[in-house]
């Protein structure tokens, strides 16, 4: 990784949306899940999670689409770039590596969502490969629905 300059910055293709993180990411993954394939149009989503308190948007307005009861994904309404993803029960954003100003600084650590990998895509590294288990987030989404109508309406904010 070499020397990392903080804050870590990035944004969408057209520049309408910009963000920064005052701290390095918690982790870096390649996600092969079906929703990443559809949202990005490719074979996977390359994402990293920033500490919630370190991350903020410095410019523009992200448009959100709730992909499941337990997660929403953000994009730029002008250029369509996918920017982030949030689980309902997690205050830490997953940001897509391609939107970083310096994506080369954050090498992959593992593959997730491997159960949905397209068969003809050959992974060319020896990193760990895991299935994705979202049951924790599903339960959290159910609990929010059940216990508080106000909370559930916030899911799609």
């Amino acid at each position: 990784m070499g020397d990392i300059t903080l804050p870590i910055t990035g944004g969408c293709l057209c520049g309408a949306i910009r963000y920064e993180s005052s701290a390095p990411p918690n982790w870096v993954v390649c996600c092969h899940c079906r929703i990443c394939q559809q949202a990005h149009g490719g074979l996977y989503g390359l994402g990293l999670e920033f500490p919630g308190e370190a991350f903020r948007y410095t410019k523009g307005e992200v448009t959100y689409y709730q992909t499941t009861p337990w997660a929403k994904r953000g994009f730029c309404a002008n250029c369509g770039s996918s920017v982030d993803m949030w689980y309902v029960d997690d205050p830490e954003p997953i940001v897509w590596i391609g939107t970083l100003d310096r994506p080369e600084d954050w090498p992959l650590e593992r593959h997730v969502g491997i159960e949905s990998k397209v068969p003809w895509h050959v992974i060319g590294d020896d990193l760990p490969q895991r299935r994705t288990d979202v049951s924790k987030h599903v339960e959290a989404a159910k609990a929010q629905d059940f216990y508080s109508a106000r909370e559930s309406s916030r899911l799609g904010r």
Binding site: L13, C14, C36, Q37, Q38, A39, H40, G41, G42, L43, T63, Y65, T67, R73, G74, F75, C76, A77, N78, C79, G80, S81, S82, P103, E104, P107, L108, V118, P119, W120, V122, I123, G124, D125
Partner: protein, 114 residues
């Protein structure tokens, strides 16, 4: 992006209207304005092996992405150093295609850029 090229006359949208963004002087990107899914790329000028008569659909948006496969890698001058492909497919730089380079230069000139 990972895309599969269709003839523009063969592909039609059966529902909804994609939103277009001109990502470069020679190319539009199409996406869903509701959920942000990236749907396709389309060249505005001939580029040698592509052009306005082709539409490059993002593989991940196919109902069956497993049914197609890719034939080559392009734009490898920007490939991230920690990404590894072990598939033995041909790999090209964007500037390996003189017609593509000329198309970008012509479009830049028309726009008054340098």
């Amino acid at each position: 992006m990972v895309a599969v090229g269709f003839s523009r006359t063969a592909l039609r949208f059966t529902k909804g209207e994609p939103k277009l963004y001109r990502s470069s002087p020679i190319k539009d990107k199409g996406f869903c304005a509701n959920c942000g899914s990236l749907l396709f790329d389309q060249f505005l000028t001939p580029t040698g092996n592509s052009g306005p008569d082709m539409i490059w659909v993002q593989v991940g948006t196919l109902d069956h992405p497993e049914a197609v496969s890719i034939g080559s890698h392009t734009g490898i001058e920007s490939q991230l150093p920690w990404v590894h492909f072990d598939d033995g497919l041909p790999r090209t730089r964007c500037d390996d295609a003189p017609i593509l380079v000329a198309a970008v230069a012509a479009a830049d000139q028309k726009l008054g850029g340098n």
